[in-house]
């Protein structure tokens, strides 16, 4: 097996007396589509935050692309190629849609390439990413003019503009209608086909099942199951966590 892109070893996080994550071990291979599920409060978002540097894990290590990331700030991890979208969209509301995408270009892609983008390059790249999520027609609008699903797309587009190796999509589909969910899943699969590893955190099972090549289940900060999605959802432990005894 090739070297994993992301390696999580014994990661733990406590908030006071509450154990949010308890010794999580997880490898993600390059190019993989991984689904991460679990009931509310099971630690999914905390794990995402520990991976992306928004929070710092108390124990264990997160290794990305062969480099340990303990102590690195969120922006440094983004520079290394780990991008995330937020559960609730967090657009830069005073900037237009195109300018929203310009930020990762200016601050992340710029760091990797030494030479500043020309204005044309920048516009071209913004347009490219926007057409990927079919938002070109809203390029010069402010985020407040977007619909909920467009907002989610902008969130993904901004993460994509940073040219990541790994994309963590944190509940990118919550609150969307059935057809919109299909839309976003199709988009994520398209991104994956371009060689981006994707971790999808989601409650909508239809989306997770159609997207994931591998499924991981978190319950109360522990990983209780992982493997082929079809096998995992038939796991009695998982059924117990979701449906009760």
């Amino acid at each position: 097996m090739t070297e994993p892109l992301l390696k999580i070893t014994n990661v733990g996080k406590r908030f006071g007396g509450f154990v949010a994550l308890d010794g999580i071990n997880l490898d993600v291979a390059p190019g993989e589509r991984l689904g991460l599920i679990g009931p509310n409060g099971s630690g999914k978002s905390t794990l995402v935050n520990c991976m992306s540097g928004t929070l710092h894990n108390d124990t264990g290590t997160v290794t990305f692309d062969g480099k340990p990331m303990n102590g690195l700030q969120a922006h440094e991890r983004t520079h290394m190629g780990l991008a995330r979208s937020f559960q609730l969209p967090r657009p830069f509301h005073s900037l237009t849609v195109a300018e929203n995408l310009r930020v990762p270009l200016l601050y992340t892609v710029r760091i990797r390439r030494d030479v500043p983008h020309t204005k044309d390059e920048m516009d071209h790249r913004c347009h490219e990413v926007l057409s990927l999520v079919s938002l070109q027609h809203k390029a010069n609008r402010l985020p407040k003019d977007l619909t909920q699903v467009e907002m989610r797309k902008l969130e993904l587009a901004r993460a994509m503009a940073a040219d990541p190796k790994l994309l963590i999509a944190d509940e990118a589909m919550a609150g969307l209608s059935g057809s919109e969910v299909k839309d976003i899943v199709a988009l994520l699969i398209r991104l994956n086909e371009r060689g981006i590893t994707i971790i999808l955190i989601e409650h909508i099972m239809a989306a997770v099942m159609s997207f994931s090549q591998r499924l991981v289940v978190l319950v109360s900060g522990k990983m209780i199951a992982e493997g082929d999605p079809q096998d995992v959802i038939r796991d009695p432990e998982v059924e117990k966590a979701y449906l009760g005894q």
């Binding site: 992306s52 540097g53 928004t54 995330r84 601050y107 992340t108 027609h137 010069n140 993460a159």
Partner: protein, 346 residues
């Protein structure tokens, strides 16, 4: 317009203002004008942190006073050297201090910028109202320090003798101060405008909008905030550096006056915080109004005007005068052009 073009154009405008003011042959115009100019610099400086980054600084007076007291220290040095140092060193110190006003401005800017950097380091983990309280506390602490520092006059204050004229320019000293402040206005506006259009400006905007999302997009938020506090503090210090020469007698209560803290916030708010034009418009409008009120009614009324206008604007036009204009012009343009909005060509 490129930054250097903007700089040259505004410098030309500034010189035109100076020569137009000279036509009046009235010193009062320079005295009043100086205060307005000083507030343009102060408001622009506040806006770099408060408007662009969204961090409200209530301690503007402290940075202004740091600039002013740096100048006082410089003017006290020759006498101090005479008393305490061997004559050769004393005469050397006497020959270089106090330096000319432009050097004093640079020194005041340096000291205030350093204090800004330090304050930023200590307080920028705080957000929103907590940051605002911390800056207020900074002002109180600094004022206490100055009141108890005998070298700069303590609570008694310090006299700074203003020369009557500037020989090499052949103009009165107040005209000279006015001219220096005009140049400082040009420098600060050019800096603010350059920031707005740069990578840094985008970074500042993301900090104002959403710091978590900014970090996730790769923006080193802490570093950018330190840049903002340093720049903002430095310009406030620069605005304060010539002040002792203007006022002639500096005491802590005037240097740390409420008017600076209030005006530095009110002027950008009233003008509009998202662009360099806002603080300029706000400072010219409010500064002039205050000067008029001071001579026609009373100096206490001028602060009342600020308060009333601030309440009015926060309710009626929260994005300031500039925001107002943008709102109406954008409404007009969307009325004309049917949806959808034009697509940027690639």
């Amino acid at each position: 317009m490129r930054t250097w073009q903007f700089f040259l154009v505004s410098l030309a405008v500034a010189l035109a203002v100076f020569f137009a003011a000279r036509l009046y042959q009235n010193d009062y115009l320079f005295f009043a004008g100086y205060v307005v100019l000083q507030f343009i610099v102060l408001a622009t400086a506040w806006n770099i942190l408060g408007g662009y980054c969204g961090y409200v600084n209530f301690g503007s007076a402290a940075f202004f006073a740091i600039g002013a007291y740096t100048t006082v220290v410089m003017t006290k040095l020759p006498a101090f050297a005479n008393r305490n140092l061997p004559p050769e060193i004393a005469s050397f110190v006497g020959s270089i201090t106090p330096p000319p006003i432009p050097v004093l401005i640079v020194l005041g800017g340096l000291v205030a910028g350093l204090v800004g950097l330090g304050t930023g380091y200590l307080t920028l983990r705080l957000r929103g109202v907590f940051f605002a309280i911390a800056t207020l506390a900074l002002a109180v602490v600094l004022q206490t320090l100055i009141v108890n520092w005998d070298f700069v006059g303590g609570s008694r204050g310090a006299y700074v003798i203003r020369p009557a004229t500037v020989a090499w320019l052949g103009i009165g000293y107040i005209e000279y101060l006015f001219l220096v402040m005009l140049v400082l206005v040009v420098v600060s506006l050019t800096t603010a405008r350059a920031i707005e259009r740069s990578r840094l400006g985008y970074g500042f905007a993301t900090i104002r909008d959403d710091e978590l999302a900014a970090e996730a997009s790769g923006v080193p938020t802490l570093r950018l905030k330190l840049v903002a506090t340093t720049l903002s503090g430095a310009f406030m210090g620069m605005a304060g550096a010539p002040f002792p020469y203007y006022i002639g007698f500096l005491e802590p209560s005037s240097a740390f006056g409420l008017a600076y803290a209030v005006n530095a916030i009110a002027m950008p708010m009233i003008g509009g915080t998202t662009s360099w034009v806002g603080p300029l418009v706000g400072a010219v409008l409010l500064g002039t109004l205050q000067q008029l009120a001071t001579v026609t009614i009373s100096s206490a009324v001028s602060l009342l005007i600020v308060g009333l206008l601030l309440v009015f604007f926060v309710i009626i036009a929260p994005n300031g005068i500039i925001g107002w204009f943008q709102y109406f012009s954008s409404r007009k343009s969307t009325d004309l052009k049917e949806q959808p909005a034009p697509v940027k060509s690639s």
